[in-house]
Symmetry: C2
Subunit: 301 residues, 2 copies
């Protein structure tokens, strides 16, 4: 599982910082999460093969999270994309994208599928045999979802020497990997746990931005491998968090602790700060495994 | 008159090139012309005091000319702008901008005035005591205007030694500057041309992008100080110009020659070219005073 941060600063894009966008590679998928202005350029700068993006998840309709979407949709068209593009986000997203395509007389040649969200409870919005994606209802000034990405458990792994030793016909290997006991060539029932190892542990990633402190999400994201949680402010400006419906680094850490996550990644920093270190220091007072997102940074889990 | 090129490449923004946007400073005004994705960052990079922009002119609704507008409008809001912002562009622009402000629940606190254009003849769309702006109807795949910016003639200049010598009361200086003859203290009529010099010559700028070769615009832009004319292609790809409704460098030069302009600035280059020199070379075969636009370049006239 690989996470590339294209942008992790709040409010306006600047020469030195980008608004929210990140790419999650998980179990063969490449998911784009949020798409602030300039995302298509950041995809290029970070050498992401963006033709592989088939699913885009938009948390909410503040500009720093979606103003780059129409540009990316248009660029896919100019580059002759033919495969379906799925876009998940709040109601209204379809109207705003299609209006711009209509005005520019530039309908996409590829199928553009909108999945407009209005659920206020955690909901399964994408699933295939490798991954599932659920919404994480957040608390912000407009309707906002985080997203939980979970690998599905893979097959158990054959311990090939033990399988051979047990004299099992190759036709049964698949059943073994699926966790079934099988008869060997001598008619003896073989316990699959003796000749296979457990599947790789599943990994999961939760993206939570933007949101006020909302402890209720902990149950949804319990035990995730990595949690990206917004931390717009440090303690010095904690008074701004409730009114703007953002979180402090400490609050992000409190969520991480409550949800017992593998690692907490902080981001969505206010652009008023010169250094990110105070975010880390303050979060670490609550929760130890803290990482700082930054534009262009890559995390592998 | 100062022109700052923020972006002058066609199609998609890249790490090395920007889509169309430029700032024209003329007679005390700061006009933004077109606003491709990333324009607000380019304004910062080029250190343009963008709070001084009160008028934005959008040529047409292809993404590479306006996808950055909503971001700039939003940033003005975040920065506490209070002064009116006037936006001139094709019908539809108001709907697309206001829809996005509505969806993000972020109405501007400053007055946002849309001037939607649908004229097919050159029309005066802005005028004050310093400058006037006219549309230049262009020929493109969607409804498109270029813009002609013209300084208004200023006052004549007092030749102060001659004025003193002629014994003219200071109360008449203003009339002299306005081109009236006045009586001196001795009751003698003084010819204003003897004691004043002509006003500075007026400057003018024509922005013509995007357009197919359209010789009819020459009469509108006759004798302008500087003409920015799109040149998407060089001769090698001239066959693409009519179908895409763009121009070649040579065609831009033919317009410049026909309109007898002071200087031709080429831009809106296709991103397929590694070098801009062929554009200049080919244009120079037709018209001598050719300049190459490039991102970050500043022209003063």
């Amino acid at each position: 599982m690989k996470l590339t941060i294209l942008g992790c600063y709040s409010a306006t894009p600047r020469t030195t910082t980008n608004p929210t966008a990140q790419v999650l590679e998980i179990n063969g998928h490449m998911f784009l999460i949020d798409c602030g202005e300039g995302t298509q350029v950041e995809l290029r700068r970070n050498k992401v093969k963006f033709s592989k993006i088939n699913h885009i998840f938009i948390s909410h309709l503040h500009g720093d999270h979606f103003f780059g979407l129409i540009g990316l949709v248009s660029t896919f068209r100019l580059y002759g994309r033919t495969s379906e593009l799925h876009i998940y986000g709040p109601k209204g997203l379809k109207e705003v994208i299609t209006l711009q395509l209509k005005l520019s007389n530039s309908w996409t040649d590829y199928p553009l599928r909108f999945h407009e969200l209005n659920t206020k409870e955690s909901t399964l919005i994408f699933e295939d045999d490798r991954v599932e994606v659920h919404t994480i209802p957040l608390s912000h000034r407009v309707y906002t979802n985080g997203f939980l990405f979970k690998e599905k458990e893979g097959d158990r792994k054959l311990l090939i020497e033990k399988v051979l030793e047990a004299n099992i016909n190759v036709a049964y290997y698949r059943k073994l990997k699926q966790g079934h006991d099988v008869e060997n060539e001598d008619g003896v029932l073989i316990d699959h746990t003796k000749v296979t190892a457990p599947a790789d542990p599943v990994k999961s990633y939760a993206f939570c931005s933007d949101t006020a402190y909302k402890p209720a999400i902990a149950s949804i994201i319990q035990g995730v491998t990595a949690l990206y949680h917004e931390s717009t402010f440090i303690e010095e400006h904690q008074h701004l968090a409730p009114t703007t419906k953002h979180s402090t680094a400490k609050q992000a850490a409190m969520i991480a602790k409550k949800a017992d996550v593998g690692a907490l990644i902080l981001g969505h920093y206010s652009t008023r700060y010169d250094s990110l270190e105070p975010f880390k220091e303050e979060a670490k007072e609550i929760f130890d495994k803290v990482l700082l997102a930054d534009d262009g940074k890559v995390f592998e889990f």
